[in-house]
């Protein structure tokens, strides 16, 4: 095994947590990672409000701009803090030196960032993205696009992977036991992911079902949103369990139509990640769900959360895809109605938890 040069693209908390974790692994074993590079795209490309605004445009509601980049408060006391300062910050032109690139930027800025980086990338490189979203349809690209497809469309890189699983930024920061699944059609990519990521606190599994990994991770924000609503209404653990398992079944039905394997949704990348994302300290979408459950209007709720929320746009995408493929989507539809203010919270929750069929396999 020869050491790899690893680069992380992204300026948010998740990107920084990844970079810090990689640096830690490099310290432990130089023959696995030679260098860790960190590229922060220009701020105007990746501001959080853009993410929220793009959903607002789609929903045709007017949302005031949310806060900018996430403040780095929670990480101040983390074990990574000292090490993180020593990640080598690089300019975009130096990305060509990396063997493996991790991409962790908000979905709406993925294409812009990739276009900026593309002239410096080449075919020997691997790109693994850690983005929990798909790219919603827009004028230029009329279909929902997977991040991995966007990488193929915008850059010369072919060896693409995606990460999902129960590992949130705080877990990496604190070296708490966690796991990730790397999905890629290429065995090489999985091997590289294991080489650079797996460490004493992080287990890395691999699968060829890249599409399943990408979609289940994107789906976790939907489940987190629903769990947030359930949480504020104090519905308890069984309700959460129902949302996780029935949500997985529902999302899997859509994902299979897009080429994913169903079982991915019932493994670490699916249910595994959903369990972590629906925890009290979980994702931004969980917080958003709690606010929506308190009847805070969506624009105001997004502003209060102040972090990138993939939930609303993923609910919309899942809703549209379910419609397109004639797939029954009770949880997604209920959330969709809720986000559009067409549902009272209580009704929405009843709808969330009542599915009209009784055979679990359907």
């Amino acid at each position: 095994m020869s050491g790899l040069t690893v680069a992380v693209i992204g300026g948010g908390r998740w990107a920084r947590a990844l970079a810090g974790f990689l640096l830690h692994n490099q310290r432990r074993s130089q023959d696995r990672i030679t260098r860790v590079l960190h590229y922060r795209p220009p701020r105007e490309l990746v501001r959080a409000q853009e993410d929220n605004r793009s959903y607002a445009d789609a929903a045709q509601t007017d949302i005031p701009a949310a806060a900018g980049e996430v403040p780095d408060v929670s990480a101040v006391d983390s074990a990574q803090q000292a090490e993180r300062r020593q990640v080598t910050s690089i300019g975009v032109s130096e990305l060509g030196q990396a063997d493996v690139i991790f991409l962790a930027v908000p979905a709406p800025s993925v294409r812009k960032v990739l276009r900026l980086a593309a002239p410096h990338l080449h075919g020997a490189q691997t790109l693994i993205h850690a983005i929990g979203s798909v790219i919603p349809a827009c004028e230029e690209h009329p279909h929902t696009t997977l991040i991995s497809h966007a990488v193929g469309e915008e850059t010369p890189i072919r060896k693409v992977g995606g990460l999902a699983g129960p590992a949130l930024a705080p877990d990496l920061e604190e070296f708490a036991p966690a796991a990730l699944v790397c999905g890629s059609r290429f065995d090489e990519v999985g091997t590289q992911a294991i080489q650079v990521l797996s460490g004493h606190s992080l287990l890395v599994y691999t699968t060829h079902d890249l599409i399943g990994v990408e979609l289940s991770r994107a789906g976790s924000s939907v489940i987190a949103l629903a769990a947030g609503v359930a949480n504020i209404l104090d519905l308890g653990t069984p309700a959460r369990a129902i949302l996780i398992t029935r949500g997985a079944a529902e999302l899997a039905r859509i994902a299979v139509k897009l080429g994913a394997e169903e079982r991915t949704f019932f493994g670490l990348a699916g249910v595994g990640e959903f369990v972590a994302a629906t925890e009290r300290r979980g994702s931004a979408d969980f917080e958003l769900g709690r606010l929506l459950g308190q009847r805070v209007p969506l624009p105001e709720a997004l502003k209060q959360v102040g972090r990138v929320c993939d939930g609303p746009s993923m609910v919309r995408e899942a809703h549209l895809l379910g419609h397109k493929f004639h797939v029954r989507t009770s949880i997604v539809s209920a959330l969709y109605q809720l986000l559009h203010g067409k549902f009272d919270t209580k009704d929405a929750l009843l709808a969330l938890l009542s599915t009209d069929i009784h055979n679990e396999r359907e």
């Binding site: 020869s2 276009r115 593309a118 002239p119 080449h122 075919g123 020997a124 279909h143 193929g152 469309e153 915008e154 850059t155 010369p156 072919r158 060896k159 059609r185 290429f186 065995d187 090489e188």
Partner: protein, 546 residues
């Protein structure tokens, strides 16, 4: 940037790699044998490989009659019985002998005189014989062969970025990958390449086609090599792939039909077979390894993949193919030997019918790509998504050096296959029969709502579509297709009246029972529904995208 050109008349190339084939043939056979042997032995022990080959061949030959076999049943049985008592060295010797025999059987030939005869004398002669109108002018026409060729060029149109392809043929090796509907596709492609000023290619043709003495003679001497699709064991496939790789490495332009067999349904191929096509990738990697000093051997010129659609107004074997497709699953045949292409009468009827219709066949060359599906600039360099140059060699790097990795390369090939299939849908040219069949098939669907395919084909139905309705349908379909940037061929791009007339005339001119007929009351009634389904599948399959 690159304009489509419609070629009129010939601009043949005079220098091309196949001219040196007869000198290199023995070397190619030797190299193929040696390399196939080493790669087989690197993966497995000789007794396993021989055992598998023996058992599969014994089973096949016990069930079907032998025809031009490399070894007959008795030989296989004797070899199989002897395997147990042989030393490793003896086994390797037997394996080498078997591989050598297969290679000799596969290796093609090229004879310039035969090729020139086939390419220069046959087409005008054909057009002369088949010229339906004004037989009295025959003597006059014989004095003006170029006029005959003009008329053939009118029937058989060639489109695409031809000047780009001609340049690429000078700096690299072309691998043409046409869609496949008919046994006539390979001669038609041979004509198209010549008409486009492109070099002739070598290609794999089913061994069954060589049994026809006339066709076999020409094919053997025009660059075709023999593929025996009846042999199913891995050893044969390995030898075949090695042969293909060796000739690509040596710069012989090649042609594969990646659909594997003729499209039974009439659909544009969506799923491609990667076996032989994969040799374009393995040969490319071998070239990079030689450049990097990782392997020895001559320089390998860059390999360029050229998707081609062969679009036919009528398909010679349509009736047999669609009938086979509609048989219950599992009973469909992979190899069909008794179809229309084996009946002279049918071939002549077909050719005559073709010659009466303008633009009866359109061959459209698509944008060339490298083995990973990248676009190419004028000089054959790979170009990335935003026009930047791409270093192809780096895709095969393992720790800074080019290396073959079977899993990675198989996935690369999958992606290239997707790019080719996409090109097929983009470059398909629809002709009047396709449009007419499509609108009539929709009318059948409306007349028999809620029924599955088989009922729509069999349920008694007497459907007459009034001319005005039909014209409106055709106009709507034309608009839809043009909106999605599909190509409409000669007549198909005309007025709806022209489309309907051309379609009906074509249907009436060849098939046993026409797919649609004009009624005395100026309506159009449906005929052979299987054929309607077959021809409309061409249109329908364009919507399968993603």
């Amino acid at each position: 940037m690159i304009q489509s050109v419609v070629v009129q008349g010939f601009q043949p190339v005079s220098d091309y790699p196949l001219l040196r084939f007869h000198r290199e043939r023995e070397g190619i056979v030797r190299e193929t044998t040696q390399r196939a042997l080493s790669s087989v032995l690197a993966a497995s022990a000789p007794e396993y490989v021989l055992n598998d080959a023996c058992l599969q061949e014994i089973r096949r030959l016990s069930e079907s009659s032998a025809q031009e076999e490399v070894r007959d049943l008795g030989d296989w049985k004797r070899l199989w019985r002897s395997l147990g008592g042989k030393s490793k060295r003896e086994l390797e010797h037997d394996l080498r002998a078997l591989i050598a025999d297969y290679t000799q059987d596969i290796a093609g030939g090229f004879n310039k005189q035969v090729y020139n005869f086939a390419s220069q004398v046959v087409p005008p002669a054909l057009s002369l014989l088949l010229s339906p109108e004004k037989p009295l002018q025959l003597p006059l026409q014989m004095l003006q062969p170029h006029k005959l060729l003009d008329s053939l060029a009118e029937r058989l149109q060639v489109q695409g970025p031809l000047s780009h392809l001609r340049k690429l043929a000078e700096v690299g090796t072309l691998v043409c990958v046409p869609t496949h509907l008919s046994n006539l596709d390979s001669p038609v492609m041979g004509y198209a390449l010549q008409a486009a000023g492109l070099p002739p290619t070598t290609y794999g043709a089913g061994k069954n086609l060589f049994t026809n003495p006339m066709l076999g003679f020409f094919m053997r001497n025009c660059g075709a090599y023999r593929v025996d699709r009846r042999i199913r064991h891995e050893l044969y496939k390995d030898v075949l792939k090695t042969y293909s790789q060796v000739i690509l490495e040596r710069g012989y332009h090649s042609m594969f039909f990646p659909g594997g067999t003729r499209s039974r349904s009439g659909r544009v191929e969506g799923r491609l077979k990667l076996g032989l096509l994969g040799t374009a990738l393995t040969a490319t990697i071998e070239g990079f390894r030689r450049e990097a000093g990782e392997a020895t051997g001559g320089r390998v010129r860059p390999i360029f993949i050229v998707p081609v659609t062969v679009n036919q107004q009528l398909v010679l074997e349509a009736e047999t193919l669609i009938a086979d497709y509609l048989k219950e699953t599992g009973r469909a045949r992979f190899i069909i030997e008794d179809d229309e292409s084996a009946q002279w009468r049918k071939v002549v009827d077909f050719a005559r019918s073709m010659m009466t219709h303008t633009g009866a066949i359109v061959i459209r060359f698509g944008q060339p790509m490298d083995v990973l599906g990248h676009s190419l600039n004028e000089v054959g360099q790979s170009v990335g998504p935003h026009g930047q140059l791409v270093d192809l060699a780096r895709y095969f790097w393992v720790q800074g050096k080019p290396q073959a990795l079977p899993q990675r390369d198989a996935e690369y090939m999958n992606q290239t296959a997707v790019a080719i299939a996409r090109a097929y849908r983009r470059e398909t040219v629809l002709l009047p029969t396709h449009l007419l069949a499509s609108v009539l098939w929709r009318r059948i669907g409306q007349a028999l709502p809620g029924l599955d395919l088989y009922r729509r084909l069999r349920q008694p139905l007497d459907l007459h579509v009034p001319q005005a309705d039909l014209l409106a349908d055709v106009a709507r379909l034309q608009t839809q297709l043009l909106h999605k940037r599909h190509h409409l061929g000669p007549r198909a791009d005309g007025t709806p009246e022209q489309v309907v007339e051309a379609g009906l005339a074509a249907f009436a001119s060849y098939h046993t029972e026409p797919a649609a007929i004009r009624t005395p009351s100026n309506a159009v009634s449906i005929g052979d529904r299987q054929l309607l389904y077959y021809y409309q599948n061409r249109v329908e399959s364009l919507g399968d995208a993603e």
